[in-house]
Symmetry: C2
Subunit: 136 residues, 2 copies
DNA sequence: CCTTGACCTTCCAGTTACGGGAACCCTCAT
DNA sequence: ATGAGGGTTCCCGTAACTGGAAGGTCAAGG
């Protein structure tokens, strides 16, 4: 299988696959003409990584997950711990976004959005006046 | 005011302030010895940018917001539109995170997390078996 | 036989918003 | 003179790619 075919099947851009090779996530062989040649196991790894990335795992976490996947003697506790840590990161990000969203949506609501210059969004950013009806 | 003082007051690292100068967000003057000199207006801009960044606006959005702030003839509609676009981005990110969280928290719950190798997290990533009690 | 098109290759640069660290200058106090 | 605590520039590194240039490979068609 050449890179185009793998790209289609794993739904990853060829560029990304080359990058994954560069950082040692996968190690495809080469044909005499220099083309990469992928076996089923490499395709599976790429699909695995694609799913892990879609769940927000970093590349390094993906590397660890691949290693755990390969390891028939792994303890599921190790996988679970990694996933739980990642879950905590996701929750922290969501908290940050929630705070931004709360502030911003209030401001957007409070802003007339007409052709006049008065704007509670700018006032709040400038901190030269209190937000209309809500503490930051 | 030198950079250290501004850094303390605006609660931004000196490095960040130098970077903001480099990209033209602020244009402090210089003393004969080469030190940057900040006036109150520059401090205000930095505080403004600090708050905007905390709300998740990109640097380029901050640049636009600063320009709108400076423009006494702005229409609040322009500010509002920018904020609303950003709000949409925040919501999209939250949706992504929510999806990841839903999948992952189910998997973490389903994983025994003991010393045995069986792990629904890895199985799901490998897609070699259906997740235990939930569709992806 | 030559060309065209669709593949593939490598390499280089750019992205975002800084942080680390080296090497060096300025100023003041001891 | 020296040391502490400012400041300066410059360059590299981060994460995870993406875009683009320049060029090799291969099968089919005229």
């Amino acid at each position: 299988m050449n890179i185009g075919e793998v790209s289609k099947r794993a739904k990853l851009p060829a560029k990304t696959i080359r990058y994954y090779e560069e950082i040692g996530l996968i190690l495809p062989q080469r044909e005499p003409n220099g083309y990469r040649v992928f076996r089923a196991s490499e395709l599976h790894k790429l699909e695995f990584v694609g799913r892990a990335r879609a769940m927000g795992f970093s590349i390094e976490e993906c590397r660890t997950l691949l290693a755990l996947w390969d390891d028939r003697n792994r303890a599921s506790a190790d996988v679970r711990a990694l996933a739980a840590r990642h879950l905590a990161v996701i929750e922290a990000r969501m908290d940050d976004l929630r705070a931004m969203h709360a502030t911003l949506s209030d401001l957007v609501t409070a802003c007339a959005g007409d052709d006049r210059p008065d704007c509670p969004i700018l006032s709040t950013l400038a901190a030269d006046g209190a937000p209309p009806d809500r503490e930051l």
